[in-house]
């Protein structure tokens, strides 16, 4: 069963009387363990498609399934529950919660799941080791560099071992070295944990690493290339 699948999905916005077709009839299936990049110029619909895949927005037409569950018919509460259990997000601007420390940001979804304290601590410890953030657990996001913040965001996305991680321009605010380090980290998590990653980006460095590159133009899939 695909980790995530869309069937003829459309997303149409109305803005100041103008109708914008952000995503137009996209059909695709992403299998578990894939490392996929959605590429395309600005306004091509990458972020909107990513939001549709993660259930952050509902399609105008068509369907989206995560692990076989139809997102379009779900109630908001069930959708929130599905995101909590099955999806991890990495945002372009990190979007860490400023009132929580680095470790608490990572622990957030585990607390929401009602996980016991010992298990939470173990997982956070392990993931901080994996992303190389040991010793920075108690720092607030404002006391971390951009690269460190994005690592915390990755830690938060993968700590709950979701089936699918969606990352929107994760390297956009990072320098080359930090980008490399971050992508190495996610590739390693993909290999070692089998986590499915879907990126939206126009960063060539990230596109080079993709094992499947889906190019979007004007909201529609132009090419869908799998690499060895």
């Amino acid at each position: 069963m695909p980790a995530v699948r869309t069937e003829g999905v459309w997303k149409v916005f109305e803005h100041d009387g103008q109708v914008v077709e952000a995503v137009r009839g996209v059909t695709l299936a992403i299998e578990p363990g894939e490392f996929v990049v959605l590429a395309g110029p600005s306004g091509s619909g990458k972020t909107t498609l990513l939001n549709l895949l993660g259930g952050l927005t509902r399609p105008t037409r068509g369907g989206v399934w995560i692990d076989g569950q139809d997102l379009t018919t779900m109630r908001p509460r069930d959708l929130a529950h599905l995101r909590l259990q099955r999806v991890g997000f990495v945002f372009q601007d990190y979007n860490l919660l400023p009132v929580l420390s680095a470790a608490e940001n990572a622990e957030f979804t585990l607390l929401l799941r009602g996980m016991p304290q010992e298990e939470r601590e173990r997982r956070v410890r392990e993931v901080f080791q994996a992303v190389g953030l040991q010793g920075l657990e108690d720092r607030r996001p404002t006391k971390l560099s951009g690269g460190q913040q994005q690592r915390v965001a990755v830690a938060r996305a993968v700590v709950g071992e979701p089936a699918l991680v969606l990352a929107d321009e994760p390297t956009a605010n990072l320098d080359r070295a930090a980008s490399d380090a971050l992508l190495d980290l996610m590739a390693e998590l993909n290999r070692s944990r089998g986590t499915t990653f879907v990126f939206a980006t126009h960063d060539p460095q990230l596109m080079e690493r993709a094992r499947r590159l889906i190019r979007l133009v004007d909201g529609a899939v132009e090419t869908d290339d799998r690499r060895a």
């Binding site: 952050l56 400023p98 009132v99 607390l111 799941r113």
Partner: protein
Amino acid sequence: MNPRVRLILQLATRNVRRQARRSVLTALAMVLGVAVLAFARTLGDGGHEDWIDAGVRLGTGHIALQAPRFQASRNLNDRLGADARARATAWLREPWVRERVVAVAPRLEIQGLASSAAAAVPIMVTGVDPAIETEFSRLGDNVIEGAYLSPDDRLHAFVGERLASRLELQIGSRLVLSAQDASGEIASQLVRVAGIFRIGLPEADAGMVQIPIRTAREWLGLGDDVTTLAVLLESGWVVDEVLRDLRGLAAGDAEVAVVGWREAMPELDAAIRMDDWGDYVFNFVLYGIITLAIVNTVLMSVLYRTREFGVLQALGLTRGQTAAVVVTEGMILTAVSGLVGLGLGLGLTWLLFRNGLDYSAMLDSEFTFSGVVLDPVIIPAFRWQQVGRSLVAIAVVGTLASLYPAYRATRIDVAEATKFEA
């Protein structure tokens, strides 16, 4: 603690602390508002307690045990006979009633005429037990000439200043009291003025005479009968409770009615209710202003954090949990400032005015209201019941003030919110 509850509390607490200046400014408004309300409420309750105390002491107590028709007829034929009085006295000795009773004064209230060589005027003669009445009505505190009745007095009278003036009476002067006796005949009794009082209430100063109850009984041939057993309780706050108990005991007794001060003095009851309504309106307005201040702070905080709420919901926080975070923030802000305000208000009132707030400089003479002479010194009343009500009001304000901001936080477009720039 449940991890989800812990998370919501953690987020809410830290968010309140995060906007420290805004939170403190809003909290100050709440602190001052609640402090003013606590001050006004304790003085208001204290004032009402004084009104009731003054009214019931001069009237028929917090509770009166009378013949069922006496309250309306004021006729001597509607009195408590020996058996009825014995039963009523027994009820008052029941342990759960007795412990809240301070004094029971037997009284004979007689409408009659007072005559002297100078004039004759209609009056209300009250036969009293001087030993009990000294503590009950405290009329002895208002003597301007002579002395209050003593237990050994027989043919003595304690008269109001205006009545004494009209009848041209002095200490030792004789006056004749006339009224209908038990057999319906007009009977007269000669008494001498033992003391003259002034309480500032025109109807009492001009038309009230107290004589020893045994003199009244002999004069009118009433044996041990009384018109009223006036009951003074430890405070006005237990009246309803004791009334309920006594009415339970008196159920089915056709000869004894249990009358609360509210029925006996409907004007005073109405005055207190009106004053309470005024207070409630004031409270409502002030709490309304406080609510708007809290709404403003919490709503601003929510709008400022649109992106965060988007992220929280993207990560799996449900709408209900999002609302819980916002409501908890409002509750924390309201609870902390409300409790500080309540403590400040009660504390300052106790510190500065526990012995009373003296209004006498604002009054020219005795101030009467609804048949009661008001004490110009108001002693604040501190009641757990009022503290409880204030806490409930604070909780309600906190919840109400957070509902709209919470609704706004749950209605965001999650995908858009994660890109929102404050």
